[in-house]
Amino acid sequence: MKFDFTRRLFLSRTVAAFAAAVFTPLSKSLAQDRSNEGRDLKVKIHQFSFVPDKLKVKTGDRITWVNLDFVPHTATAKDGSWDTGILKQNESKTITLTESFGNEYYCDLHPSMIAALQAIN
């Protein structure tokens, strides 16, 4: 009886160790892969403001700008590296950030509207 218990304990520990050896690196690498994937982020254009006006981003993130105002707006990088084009009310545009994305942006139709993407790469 004691032998059985010891053997069972040994076996269960062996299986656990094996599973840990095999699956841990796999799940870890999957997690890493996931962290390297771009995220889906949203910026609302509301009452002549970008909300949020500062957004932490990294290369590969997909940012969707949606215009909730009844006048058209754009989200346009100051360095010209990206541009949503004109967005009418309730229209949206998603942009995937490439390595050389411009951080500061504005509304090309209303240049007093400014905001920024803060790189966390």
Partner: protein
């Protein structure tokens, strides 16, 4: 500067000379709707004039924004009036704004080149400042209908952005 003084004089006369009739703060919702519609159309007229006379791309860009935004506000205003089944009411302030705009259009029409651009930008700044002040301090606090008030508040946000844009344009043209 000349335009700014004219606008200030017009607005002072609105609250003094016409005080016998009413003050801007005493206008009812339907009269205010008429004022807002008139003010939008006046700025659209200025913008069309700018597109016809100016050769400056920055002025054209600003003017196109004015046409687009003020038309959008008017569309919202007309839709709300239709929903409420009411008609805007003409009043002393609408009349005075329209009379003032005729003089400004006459003055702007005689200018060309950089002189026009500067005067147009200065007028846009002064006009939006004056209208925004009226909206914030005289109109919005006295509007009774909730939906009309919401529309005026949204309009004020738009016109404040126009004021900032005009300010940037005036600085750039100096």
């Amino acid at each position: 500067m000349k335009i700014k003084l004219f606008l200030i004089a017009t607005l002072v006369s609105l609250s003094q000379g016409i005080a016998m009739a009413k003050t801007p703060a005493e206008l009812n919702d339907l009269e205010l709707a008429h004022v807002a519609y008139s003010a939008d159309n006046i700025d659209i007229q200025y913008a069309h004039l700018a597109l016809a006379i100016s050769k400056n791309p920055a002025i054209h860009k600003f003017a196109k924004s004015m046409i687009r935004d003020h038309n959008a506000v008017n569309t919202q205003a007309l839709a709300l009036l239709a929903k409420l089944n009411v008609q805007p009411q003409d009043n002393f302030l609408s009349k005075s704004l329209n009379e003032g705009s005729i003089k400004i259009i006459d003055e702007l029409s005689q200018l060309r080149g950089a002189a026009f651009d500067r005067r147009y930008a200065e007028n846009e700044l002064a006009y939006h400042k004056a209208v925004n002040d009226l909206m914030a301090n005289s109109f919005i606090p006295n509007i009774e209908n909730k939906e009309v008030k919401t529309l005026f508040k949204a309009g004020l946000e738009i016109f404040k952005a126009h004021e900032h844009h005009a300010e940037m344009m005036v600085k750039a043209l100096q």
